[in-house]
Symmetry: C2
Subunit: 483 residues, 2 copies
């Protein structure tokens, strides 16, 4: 019943206010009136997003018509074409593709694994190859298992205990932390460098407990690195679902002699050309100052990359659209960048920073959304004390929207390479409780995203971009005259 | 793989701290040390909830083994028996049932409805009887339709336009409001008194757009009242899904002469006996001062009542358990009350207040969770200025848990009848974005509840109960000696 969706839109137009805003935005001075006026602009942005947002429809297409968008895949190219076309339809001042060579890793046929508790007695368990892993031999790999709680355990166990075995990394994410990204950080070394470390002790493969706080049957993929290992030294690495990890651990407790079998046919192909997708509204007063908002267009291949990071892409696209809808005319250049290859290479982020540096572009602010399309709780800022102090003055404007967290901290992987002294990097901080239920897994699909939560994130981002554009990071005690 | 769930529990025991707490809790004085100590108690409560909570398992049983618990139903009685048994297993000082007569409304056979755009050309649409509605005639009811945006439209239309017709209330919830409960409040009069009003103008039935911000196919039931209408004057009322409402509205625009058919066989039976389920830990110093925490055990019948209000019940039960787990010995009596019949009568809440008044019980604080098992954002307080000022001093303790909202406002329906001058009423405020996707509909099931979000709510509630128990509402400038 697609046509009818429009009815909801019609009943709450958020656009009529544009003339008023165009007029009132001309009056720029500091003080209570400016705050009132900013509050009105934020209100109009939120209303536009919640009644007339496009993020959800775009995400529907990215998720359900295109699907997982692993770098170098047909789907990644379809996503480039689709988002470029959609940005062009927004009537921006410029939309273009920025070429970048990306790695192309392919999963091959579906992985298969079982626990062999006695010869001939097996329990299948859900696994998936980690991104960047080598394949097992064509017939699979079967070996005894050593369970560890992290790479720190390997030296103590030593080569004798590990050689010829599969190392099973089973340290779970800590459920007691409130910020689930902290729990993730405390575990992800097992996935990223577990194989490289285990190989040094003669392991023949590694199985890693999925980075998931829930007990379920979805294996979660993600990037890994072999570090300095030569091609010959590399051993296959797979993630096992949390339920599978519990079963394997229990079975090992009952009988340490059990064997584990897994088969995967993933491989690394030569790099291929892909693109960052970029669009911008040119600034009316300071066109050479760039405010960037973005997410990454690539995703893992198991699900549809709806939260990671389709959500961040469509929110970023809608930031420009919402600003246009409310009739605000930016003074600085507002640029949306959909980065390619965040998941397994960060080539898009690096290429963007490289080209920006070559062109001597001045970036004032870069905001990334790459933590899921959940209810926004705040922003993190990677910036100077002075800039952060300026930013804190805007915090009360977000209070009516329950956006409370304005904290120092990491921003986003793609914008990281841009880092410089006078650039403010920022990350949207959505509620993190559900993120790792879906992260890099088959269930990261459109259904897992709530429309309003997604739209509230786009509105929060647009609100912040508006304030940065209007005021820059000029200390607040000085009267603001145009910048 | 149920047995294995225990493994997660084993790895992060939140209980070992109890001895330390028992010792340190003995040292009660105001100031930085007390704040540090309170911070530690809150940390231990959160850890216990996130690593060793029982709320989710209880909710699983309530939702999946029992299901919807409409007052007077077999399931409502099963829920009484089950929660009483579970409370008894917690080793509380007292667990009992409080008898209360409740209305018994039954839905009968599944409702059926269609839009007849031309004689013989029909489109089925999802509807459900509103709670308390009368049935249609056995063969159903077919009539022309008048669409309105609210009861305010009726006088203008007048009897000529309405008589013999079905009134279709189609004012949607306002998506621009951030607090979705406000949007709900702005619409729910259509459901509650739409039939009573329309009947006065000779309408033969009413169809009400579901109180849902999403466009989907679930009709949402809920309570309604016929006000002063006699039995003969009552007309049947049903909710239609939001997609159905859009279709009906569009069809009406194309042809105002279309007819609508619906059939429902619901009816009101005589009142039956049911129970509030109550358990308490007796206070060590002030046993006569009661701190109440609760939710309502009854639910609508379409789904499993998982968010509304299974979540609030199991969170309230876990508040007592978490306090015990952390080794805290309450000074005041901490009482959990699972109220019966919030949805269609509030008899449980009224009975509880009546008995409390008869017994001259002194209630100091009553906290209800009845807004879904989502990430907690804060609390609302219905209390004196002095008490609120005291409460605000506790706010920083909740900062690490992203519980930011401490606001004046409504608390919960069940605890409302207790209201008195020196009682502080409070409501948990979870994130409200997804609530009305599920509220009173078939999809309010266990799967819609995220374990961590539910557990964070229980922890926030236990933290607040701990602080109220420890300090009462004594103004903060006075040294606290025992109370």
């Amino acid at each position: 019943m697609r046509r009818l969706t429009g009815c909801r839109r019609f009943k709450f137009p958020g656009i009529k206010i544009s003339l008023y805003l165009a007029v009132s935005c001309a009056m720029l001075f500091q003080g209570a009136f400016a705050q009132d006026q900013d509050a009105e602009v934020l209100r109009s942005i939120y209303t536009a997003s919640l009644t007339d947002g496009k993020a959800y429809d775009w995400l529907n297409h990215l998720s359900n018509q295109i699907g997982g968008r692993l770098s170098g895949s047909v789907q990644a190219q379809q996503a480039v074409d689709y988002t470029k076309k959609e940005l062009e339809e927004l009537g921006l001042d410029r939309v273009w593709l920025q070429p970048v060579m990306v790695p192309k890793w392919v999963r091959g046929t579906a992985e298969f694994a079982y626990i062999e508790s006695e010869p001939g007695i097996t329990n299948n368990v859900p696994v998936c190859a980690l991104g960047g892993s080598v394949a097992t031999p064509a017939g699979g790999l079967k070996a005894g298992v050593v369970e560890v709680q992290g790479v720190e355990d390997l030296p103590e166990l030593g080569r004798d205990a590990i050689e010829g075995k599969i190392v099973f990394y089973n340290r779970p994410m800590d459920p007691a932390l409130i910020n689930t990204f902290q729990s993730y950080s405390g575990c992800v070394d097992q996935r990223y460098s577990g194989a490289a470390e285990a190989a040094k002790y003669g392991a023949v493969g590694v199985i890693v407990r999925s980075m998931n706080l829930r007990l379920d049957d979805f294996p979660h993929t993600g990037s890994m690195s072999y570090g300095e290992l030569t091609l010959q030294e590399r051993i296959p690495a797979a993630a096992i679902s949390t339920n599978g990890a519990e079963l394997l651990s229990t079975t090992l407790t009952l009988n340490p002699e059990i064997r584990f079998y897994f088969r995967q046919s993933c491989r690394q192909l030569p790099d291929v050309e892909s693109y960052n997708v970029i669009g911008e509204i040119r600034g009316s007063e300071f066109p050479d100052e760039v405010i960037l908002v973005g997410g990454h267009l690539d995703s893992w291949d198991l699900g549809d990359g709806s939260h990671d990071d389709g959500a961040g892409c469509v929110q970023s696209m809608d930031v420009l659209r919402l600003l246009k809808l409310t009739g605000y005319r930016p003074k600085r250049t507002i640029r949306v960048v959909l980065f390619m290859n965040e998941e397994n290479g960060l080539r898009g982020g690096r290429k963007y920073a490289e080209v920006a540096s070559q062109k001597n572009e001045r970036h004032l602010f870069a905001l990334e959304s790459d933590a899921g399309g959940f209810t926004p709780r705040g922003f993190s800022f990677d910036c100077s004390d002075a800039a952060f102090e300026r930013i804190l003055h805007w915090k009360p404007l977000f209070e009516p929207y329950l956006v409370h967290q304005f904290v120092r901290g990491g921003s986003g992987a793609d914008i990281g390479p841009l880092k410089s002294e006078d650039l403010v990097l920022s990350g949207l901080r959505p509620d993190s409780q559900r993120y790792f239920d879906y992260h890099h897994a088959e269930n990261d699909t459109f259904e897992a995203v709530n429309r309003r939560e997604l739209e509230l994130g786009a509105a929060a981002m647009a609100g912040l971009v508006y304030l940065v554009d209007k005021y820059g990071f000029t200390p607040v005690q000085q009267p603001i005259k145009g910048r």
